[in-house]
């Protein structure tokens, strides 16, 4: 099943299948390690609900929710 990253619950993992959004956002995500075909785990949210955090390629990243909507993840 394909979900948007912000629909994953904390601790859930999946494989990134598609990243949408403008080229600058996609370039930035790629540079920091959000890449198609890689496993990603949703981690803890900030106490006020935004931003969220994820783990991928051995590193923890955080970004705001509206960015998470651009990341599509295949989950089991």
């Amino acid at each position: 099943m394909i979900k948007k990253l912000d629909e994953l619950f904390p601790g859930e993992k999946g494989i990134i299948v598609k990243i949408s959004g403008n080229p600058i956002l996609r370039q930035r995500l790629l540079e920091l390690g959000i890449r198609e075909g890689k496993e990603i785990i949703r981690k803890i949210d900030a106490p006020m609900g935004d931003p969220i955090s994820v783990q991928t390629m051995g590193t923890n990243l955080s970004f705001r929710r509206h960015i998470a909507k651009h990341i599509f993840v295949e989950v089991e």
Partner: protein, 678 residues
């Protein structure tokens, strides 16, 4: 003798600066890149009789020139043409970091890949086949642990060795026949202008042009600009027809394919037993929904305590030293103008600012610890939503909070922000946060005019300051820094215990910058204010300070501008106190006592002020004015340093006066309205 130029390139948190400090020790120079507030660090070292100049390029994740840091790094490599690039990567995020490496490969520079934190790599059960990686990349790869100074000697030997070797058998990332053909044709055109491309860069510039990177600033210098662009457009159009997507994406796909290949060949994860990840464990506590804010509160409180309480003790010590120095000079020098200049102008002005030094050093000690340990990123994480409301970044909060103690370290704390615009806005709004030097003025005036509800009034003043800084942030963001900020994507680095050495270096850098860069501005400012209060010399010999100040240029200035401040209720004496307050807010109270010729108790000052027409409302508007108008010289110097712009510093001054005037006016008249009803 030839001096080799070495550039350090790597992701933030990859240990780049640790390596830089290891190589250069104290032989380094910290400044800014031209026109921006991004830090530029250069240093020197010698190894086996050979001289090296090292530059620590800003921490970046790629070379696409989307951020100012990326642009600086790329332009430096193209324009300065370093003899060798040391690409330092955090071994635990090797695959991620190799993207930057793949872009550096396009530059065809001589390179060494230093895989840092290799001890953690081994601990995590990750096996990296260094030999194989080296063979595939065709340049040296070396594991190091910069923090424990492991592998550094080997790195230096490899460095010497690769500088000796011919640089011909270089690695290429093959972008496929069509693109490669286009690249070589553009390369051909570029090669006619060797002053532009140097030995190797033609291919890189061709790739950058095809992927529509913002590289025009470099090319515009050449006369053949149009011709080259025409050639590029021809190819990119044809290629887009073939690939049916942006060429940038095509290049990226190829690069990622190349990296996947490397990782598949050279990296194996051996053990997969699940150890408790320390970082995960700490995050579960400090980012917990209910615990995160209390923990952050305690850490802020500790920061504040260390900076201002411990720092305060040291400050008093320095203050005593300054006092003794000035007493000593008073005792040994005959009365003269020079003596007055040294004692009142230089020692009084600069000494009053030097006392901040311990606080600044301690603040940066704490900040260095928070940054190097990884907690700073978590602060940004938990505060982001709140600060986002102001159009700012989570990390701005630290700066605003520090401002309550003193605006100088508050403004200097703005440099923890990644985006240049955010740094500027954060620095510019800081003076409105009421610092501790302004508190004595409120205490004195509230004690005199609002004996019953002084606490409430002071609280109201602080709130007004925060309100104005929020509004100012909004205004700056809406009208002046409109540029869409880069999407907020931030790394939460693993927690690591910082070494004492790295923190000490960090702290010393800031302190020496404070001394060097601000010293000049503060010295000049203090002398100007002193001279305005000193000249023209009064004719009568007896040293009547009140008459002296009244007849001085400042006194005249105060009287001249009296009509301007009439609507706020200030007479020339308050105006003069405001002008001298530019040296330091501490001076405002003492100037008032001198001008009113008050004896050493506030009751006397109060009576004299009241008989001069100063009422409750005027006192309130005076305090509001003090809160918002021009900050002290040290703060102005800090703004100048952090925004790196005379324009913004002047803006800050005039905007401050403007806002102060409006708010003081409003408060005076609202207060008298409220007063009528109560």
């Amino acid at each position: 003798m030839k001096k080799y130029k070495i550039a350090l390139v790597g992701n933030p948190n990859s240990g780049k600066t640790t390596l830089f400090n290891l190589l250069t020790g104290s032989r380094q120079h910290v400044g800014n890149w031209a026109g921006v507030t991004v830090e530029k660090k250069e240093g020197f070292f010698e190894y086996k009789g050979i001289q090296f100049e090292v530059i620590d390029l800003p921490g970046i994740y790629g070379l696409s020139a989307n951020t100012i840091e990326e642009k600086i790094a790329r332009d430096y490599i193209i324009e300065e043409k370093p003899d060798l690039i040391i690409n330092i990567v955090d071994g635990t995020t090797l695959e991620r970091s190799l993207y930057l490496t793949s872009q550096l490969i396009d530059s065809h520079s001589r390179m060494i890949l230093a895989i840092n934190m290799f001890d953690e790599v081994v601990d995590k059960g990750i096996k990296v086949d260094i030999k194989k990686l080296q063979n595939l990349l065709k340049f040296p790869v070396i594991p190091i642990v910069a923090k424990r100074e492991k592998g550094i000697k080997e790195l230096l030997d490899i460095l010497l060795n690769s500088l000796d070797q011919r640089h011909e058998d270089r690695i290429h990332i093959n972008y496929g026949e069509d693109i490669e053909n286009a690249i070589s044709e553009i390369e051909c055109k570029l090669n006619c202008y060797p002053e532009l491309t140097g030995e190797y860069f033609a291919r890189w510039i061709a790739i950058e042009l095809l992927s529509e990177s913002d590289i025009k600033n470099i090319l515009e210098k050449s006369k053949e600009y149009c011709e080259i662009i025409e050639e590029v457009n021809k190819h990119s159009k044809a290629l887009k027809d073939i690939y049916k997507e942006e060429l940038k994406e095509v290049f990226n796909d190829m690069r990622l394919g190349f990296i996947n290949g490397l990782v598949k060949e050279c990296v194996t994860i051996e053990t997969k037993f699940s150890r408790i990840d320390i970082t995960d464990f700490i995050d579960r506590i400090v980012l917990n929904k209910y615990l995160s804010f209390p923990i952050f509160g305690i850490i802020l409180w500790l920061t504040f305590q260390i900076t201002f309480d411990v720092g305060g003790i040291l400050s008093n010590f320095i203050e005593n030293l300054v006092g003794q120095l000035s007493n000593f000079i008073v005792a040994i020098m005959p009365d003269s103008m020079l003596k007055d200049l040294i004692v009142d102008g230089i020692i009084g002005g600069v000494g009053g600012v030097i006392v901040f030094l311990p606080q600044i050093m301690l603040l940066f000690l704490v900040i260095a610890f928070l940054e190097d340990s990884g907690y700073m990123a978590r602060i940004a994480f938990i505060m982001d939503k709140f600060m986002h409301f102001l159009g700012l970044h989570g990390k701005s909060f630290i700066s605003m909070f520090m401002g309550i103690g003193c605006n100088v370290p508050g403004i200097m704390a703005a440099r923890v922000l990644e985006s240049e615009d955010d740094r500027k806005i954060t620095a510019l709004i800081n003076p409105f946060v009421s610092c501790s030097a302004r508190l004595p003025i409120y205490i004195l005036l509230c004690g005199m005019f609002f004996p019953k509800n002084g606490g409430t009034i002071i609280f109201l003043i602080y709130l007004t300051g925060i309100f104005v800084s929020i509004i100012t942030a909004k205004i700056l963001k809406t009208f002046f820094f409109k540029k869409e900020s880069l999407p907020f994507v931030m790394e939460l680095p693993p927690y690591r215990f910082p070494t004492l050495k790295s923190i000490a270096i960090h702290m010393w850098e800031r302190a020496s910058q404070f001394l060097k860069k601000m010293g000049g501005v503060i010295l000049i400012g203090s002398i100007i204010i002193w001279a305005l209060g000193y000249f023209p010399l009064s004719s009568h010999k007896e040293r009547d300070k009140t008459a002296q100040l009244e007849n001085s240029y400042i006194g005249k200035l105060g009287k001249m501008s009296e009509p301007i401040f009439k609507p706020l209720g200030f007479n020339w004496k308050e105006t003069v106190a405001l002008i001298t307050g530019i040296v330091g807010k501490e001076v405002v109270v003492s100037t008032l006592s001198v001008l009113y010729n008050a004896k050493d108790d506030s009751e006397d000052l109060k009576l004299k002020m009241q008989s001069d027409g100063v009422d409750k409302e005027t006192a309130l508007s005076f305090m509001i004015f003090v809160l918002l108008y021009v900050p002290c010289i040290a703060t102005i110097a800090a703004i100048l340093r952090e925004t790196n712009s005379v324009k913004w510093t002047l803006f800050s001054l005039f905007y401050g006066i403007f806002v102060a005037y409006i708010f003081a006016f409003l408060f005076k008249h609202l207060a008298s309205l409220v007063g009528k009803f109560i």
